[in-house]
Symmetry: C2
DNA sequence: CCACGTTACGCATTTCGTAACTATG
DNA sequence: CATAGTTACGAAATGCGTAACGTGG
C-alpha cells in the first residue's frame, strides 16, 4: 500500500468529482483516474460507483476514507515529530484556541515549570476553532487544551474543568432584561446545543467579529463563562443559560505518546484543575 | 512524506546495516543509500550517524522509527479493512493465541451470538505468541484476546480475568515433590517474571515443543493455570507458584474503532468474564 | 448535446542495478 | 586490507500530460 495513491483516493472521495480532485492535487484527470483504478485492482475492491455524471463511495470506499485519513495523518506526524526531535531545543508544543483555555493556560505553564527544574520548556501554539485534534494527529503539537466534544480518534484526554455557559445577547435583545435564560428561550433543545455552537462559530472568523454580529442582533452564541469575563463589550450582555450543558475543557494528547514530558504537562494541568475546583 | 522511503528507513533502522536492509527489501544497496539520504535532506534531519563500519540511529532517527512503524501499520490497516469491508459477509475477526483464551473463547462467542440475533458473525483467527497487537494494528483483526503486558500503542483494552500461574516441571525435578513453589525457588524475582516468560516462550515454537523440553528438564516455564488444566502430559507436573503475578487476560481492539460490532463483542466478553468471576 | 470519466499514446521523471570508488576499523 | 557505504552511469519502470473517445443525464 503506497501513500500517494491513497492521498489521491482521499481527494476524490472528498470531492466526489475526478476533475476537481485532480485540480486540487495539481495533476490532470487521466493519471488520477488510472491511479484510482489501479488502487481498486490492487486491493481487489471497488471503491467508487461511477457513471459519467455521478461518483459515489461504496461501503468499502467509505471504510477506506476514514482509515486513509488516519494513516496519512500518521505519516505526516512521523515526519513532523522527527523534525521536532532534531530541533535544537526540543520543546513541548501545547495547542490552545485563543481564549479557549478557561483561564487555565498561565497557571498550567507556571505549575509545570515549577514542578520540576528539568521540565521541558513549553511553546504555546495558538490555533483556530477545532484545529487542535488535527495538530495533535499530524505531529505539530504534543498536547492541546480543547473543549468537548471533539474527535477523539487516536487521542487520549482528561477532562479538566466544566464551566457554566452564558449566551451573548445584544443589549436591546428582549431576553437581555432577564437575569438568566433557558435553552427554550433561545429555541433550543439540549440535544441541539453542540450543533448550534458549531454553527454560530462559523459566523465569524474570530471572537471580535462574532461579538460585532451579536451587537447587531444577528446571532446569539453560547460561550463558556470565562470568555464572557474576559470580553466585556458595550452593547453586548452575557446572561447565564441555566439548563445548557456545561463547557468541558479537556487536555488531549496523541494516544501513542510515550513521552514523559507530555505526561508531566498533563499532570500539571490536572493538578491546576483540581486546585481550581476545590 | 512518502511511504516507501519510510519503509526503507525502517528496514535500515532495524538492521543497522544497509546491505542486510537492502536484501530484506529486495533491492540493492545503492538505491537504498540514496533513498535514505534523500529522506534526510527532505526532512532536513540527520537520521543515521554512519561510518563505513557502523550505522547508528540519531535521536531524531529513533523518534522517526517509532512513528514510522505506527504510520506504516496504519497504512496496511487501511487496505486490509477496506478489503474486509468489501468481503461478501463482513465478519468480525477475533485473534486468539491457541490455548491462550483461559477457556473464555467458546462462552464469549456463544454469549455474543445469543445476545443479539443480528450480531455480526465472528471468525476466530489463531495466531502465534504476541502476534495479536500487530494483527489489530495492521487491520487483520478487529479484536483480540491477549495476555498482559502487551504493547498498547494504538489499542484500547479491558481486562477480563486474572488467573493464578503454575510452573511446568519435569516429574523428576527436585521441586516436583512440593505442593507449591515460590518464585525464589526458581531463582526469580517478581520483576523478572515477564522477561522470564518471554524467554521461555522463545524456546519452543508451540506448546507441545515446549512441554517436551520441560520433560527433558531443559526449561521450567510459567503458565496460566488454564493451560495446565488442558494439557496434562506424562512426565510433566504443574505446581502453583504462589507469589507469581497473575496472568491477566484482556480483550483489546484498535483505539480508533467506531464499530458497534466490536463494542458488542467486547461487551459479551466482559459479561462472560464477570459471570466467571462471580 | 454537453459534461465528465476513460482510453491511447508519447514524454519526463524517478528508481533501480552493475560497476567502480572510498574510507574506516 | 577487507568490509561496507557511496558515487557514477546506463536501463527499466513508473507517472504525467495532451488529445481523442464513449457514455449517461
Amino acid at each position: 500500500m503506497e501513500s500517494r495513491p491513497l492521498s489521491y483516493f482521499v481527494a476524490v472521495a472528498e470531492e466526489l468529482n475526478f476533475a476537481r480532485a485532480a485540480e486540487r492535487l495539481g495533476i490532470s484527470p487521466p493519471p488520477l483516474s488510472r491511479a484510482i483504478r489501479r488502487l481498486e485492482t490492487d486491493l481487489g475492491v471497488t471503491l467508487f460507483e461511477r457513471t459519467t455524471h455521478s461518483v459515489t463511495l461504496t461501503p468499502a470506499g467509505t471504510v477506506l476514507l476514514t482509515e486513509a485519513r488516519i494513516a496519512l495523518d500518521a505519516l505526516r506526524a512521523a515526519g513532523r515529530r522527527a523534525q521536532r526531535a532534531a530541533s535544537p531545543e526540543p520543546k513541548l508544543v501545547l495547542a490552545v484556541k485563543a481564549d479557549g483555555d478557561a483561564g487555565l493556560l498561565e497557571p498550567i505553564l507556571t505549575r509545570h515549570a515549577s514542578s520540576d527544574p528539568a521540565a521541558a520548556p513549553v511553546a504555546v501554539r495558538l490555533c483556530a476553532w477545532h484545529e487542535q485534534p488535527r495538530l495533535l494527529r499530524q505531529g505539530e503539537a504534543d498536547a492541546a487544551l480543547v473543549h468537548e466534544p471533539f474527535d477523539r480518534t487516536g487521542l487520549d484526554s482528561e477532562a479538566l474543568v466544566a464551566e457554566p455557559r452564558v449566551v451573548a445577547l445584544a443589549a436591546t435583545h428582549p431576553l437581555a432584561g432577564k437575569d438568566h435564560v433557558a435553552l427554550a428561550d433561545l429555541g433550543l433543545r439540549p440535544g441541539d446545543v453542540h450543533r448550534f455552537i458549531d454553527e454560530t462559530r462559523g459566523r465569524g472568523h474570530d471572537l471580535a467579529q462574532l461579538l460585532t454580529l451579536v451587537g447587531l442582533g444577528d446571532v446569539t452564541p453560547l460561550f463558556p463563562v470565562s470568555v464572557a469575563d474576559r470580553y466585556p463589550r458595550p452593547g453586548v450582555v452575557y446572561r447565564p443559560v441555566t439548563d445548557a450543558p456545561p463547557a468541558v475543557l479537556a487536555i488531549a494528547w496523541p494516544q501513542q505518546s510515550r513521552s514523559t514530558d507530555v505526561a508531566a504537562l498533563v499532570r500539571a494541568a490536572m493538578s491546576v484543575a483540581e486546585a481550581g475546583q476545590g
